[in-house]
Amino acid sequence: MDGAGSARLAALIRAAAREERLPDGDAVPALADRDIPAIARQVGVSPWEAADAALVMGVIPARYLRNLGAFGSEGQRRLHRASAALVGLGGLGGLALESLARLGVGRLLAADHDVFEDSNCNRQILATAQTAGIPKAAAAAERVCLVNPLVRLQAKQEQLDRQGMDSLLADADVALDCLGGLAGRSDLAVAARSAGIPLVTAAVAGWSGYVAVVMPGFPDPSALMGSGPAAEDSLGTQPPAIYTAAAIMAGEAARLLGQGECSLAGRMLLFDLLRQTWDTITLA
């Protein structure tokens, strides 16, 4: 966009901005959701670019007003300019994607080779009564468009090998291991380490699960899990543990992207929702 285009975009944003009052009384210049694509169309830019210009001006897309308490306008702008790569769009991936899209992580890169089957419907937010046989990547693209048109999603229907992981992670600021089962997790940890980015990883079985943030060079929990049978083979995977783990994953990833820090960096949270125990440990 040339200087005249940028000036026109800024003028349209200024004209459309309205003062919104937060519940605590703070006033914030904000843009209504419907105005952003309209402004983008008039100037010939994407909704992401229009939102970016607004955030640079300190004008907050109104859909992010309730994010400000955690991230502030500066953090929201960082989220908008950040990239997160999600490997797996099942139970963990669908929910993490939903949270990151609503938080406003501006670029979401995702991959899952699979199509939905009926047994996904107990926990996977992208699985509905209409999605049997539909690729998870396609459902993710449709969902993100509906939820937040200001962010950009590239979702591939592809089973990633090491090279595929390297390529997905090349442009990402953080990686999320949302795989189901033990296979592929160690490869992804190696890919994240070689990309030099943090890996937010989680797994669940029944009422138990873990979430860890593997900083480059730190130990990866999946390397301890082996490749044999796993607890979910008999305990299954249900929403309470999946939602818990995915919520914590998204929170840690967003904190890394928006604030440059997170609580589980180099550590691992192990939870048991049956006994309500929460342990944070350091791996040697």
Partner: protein
Amino acid sequence: MNIEVRCFATLGKFAPTDGALALPEGTDVAGAMAALGVPPDEVKIIFVNGKAVGPQTALRDGDRLGLFPAVGGG
């Protein structure tokens, strides 16, 4: 000595009822696992007081021992 034990997921069935286990002084993690009847090959992560450790780690009165199996569901 008495320790607190947390057994996760499929290992939950080996957990003492109130989470407490009485052991002879000087027992290590492997000894505690044997006392609980936990098959060692089913334990992938052992932690004591918030730190991952190996089975030969000596336990002390009041320690919190956690045993976590292979978990990979998503």
